[in-house]
Symmetry: C2
Subunit: 230 residues, 2 copies
């Protein structure tokens, strides 16, 4: 894990998205969350308040508030008088996240499935195809997330979906490492195809079973990877 953070990676986001936010705190929080989830700020990175403030062009205060929000989301950890770091995920945590996803995602899918449209299916298929062509691990995570969320989107339960996305993203933060360690994962793509097919057929039970298996599979891969690394 790098000692200093990828500020160039941030500055792009910054200039682009700053005007959309009304308060600096909001803006910093959103940008940092994106950066953490996308892997721009890898797990373990120390987060120097002064440094971040300079990068964002604000004072330390909005940074501190943003860090506190991210702490509440379990994305960063505070060590009193020693600063904040991007939260590491342990093998234990990954099992936890797997269990949460295995509970939430089938529920979201079951609510969403009856309302999915042909356009949704087409989009999902396209995202699978894009994943086939994608080689950048950072982009893979985003495509994977969008594929899953496309299938759940019609659930009409914003809080549930936010929770699903949050845990999907938490798992995906490590996808890039799996990607690097294991190479391309055709098995995962097979599961995506199977899942989409079940959805198209309108078979809720089969679809839920497919997504459950897929999630548990991903959790096992992640846990195995984390054990290896340790």
């Amino acid at each position: 894990m790098p000692d200093s953070l990828d500020l160039p990676g941030l500055t792009a986001l910054i200039a682009r998205s700053r005007p959309h936010y009304r308060t600096a705190t909001e803006f910093v929080e959103a940008a940092m969350r994106e950066a953490i989830l996308a892997g721009t700020l890898p797990a373990g990175s120390p987060l120097r308040q002064e440094e971040l403030a300079a990068a964002f062009g604000v004072s330390r205060m909005p940074v501190r508030e943003a860090l506190r929000q991210l702490e509440a989301r379990a994305l960063v950890e505070f060590h009193p008088h020693r600063g904040a770091v991007v939260a590491e995920i342990s093998a234990e945590d990954s099992a936890d996240i797997g269990a949460i996803r295995a509970a939430l995602e089938p529920a979201a899918l079951r609510l969403s499935l009856p309302r999915l449209t042909p356009e949704d299916f087409a989009l999902a298929a396209e995202l699978i195809a894009e994943m086939d062509a994608e080689s950048d691990p950072g982009r893979m995570g985003e495509l994977n997330r969008r594929f899953h969320m496309t299938l759940y989107a019609r659930a009409g339960r914003p809080r549930l979906l936010a929770l699903v996305e949050q845990h999907l993203a938490a798992a995906d933060r490590y996808l890039r490492f799996q990607f690097a360690a294991l190479g391309y994962h055709p098995r995962s793509q097979d599961e995506h195809h199977a899942l989409l097919a079940a959805c198209r057929a309108g078979d809720a039970d089969a679809a839920c079973e497919a997504v459950t298996r897929h999630v548990l599979q991903a959790g096992d891969l992640l846990a195995a990877f984390l054990r290896d690394r340790a």
Copy 2:
């Protein structure tokens, strides 16, 4: 909803628990979360930073950081330049929370059930009995939460349990109103007894079904109450 907040209710907590925390921010966040979940700070209460700071005996800064953390947990809402208020729950939200609980709690129970001990069952039974005797709606919520969490506690999944507790608490914030509006709810207690019996019998399927029904039932009650109030 009251215009000013119940500071006396807070000051008790404050003197008692302050020494346990290393930083003021941690302390303020924990105390305010407790106060919100217990209903001491009812939904809709405006949260004046200056006022809270004085009540906690700190400056506005730890209060601001604590409020940001609570915002990330969806317990308070910020309106730029207009301050924070304790988050209201809508009928829509309550359906959302019901769906989340219905997904998470059976999963937690299924993991926990095989490891529950006779002591756990005894504690759960005692909590049900205490609920029978309890007349204070504020305490009811806490007993209800502890009853549920006792059954899930052996799941060995800290993040999952934290998520369950968070949503259980979110639903319980309104229990006091249901309590007042509907009087005592024997039906809920019947469900508690049925749930505990299924757990004691080690019947995971029956227990999960019981908890699912109980959760959905609570969600319906809450949604109905919220609609009535509007």
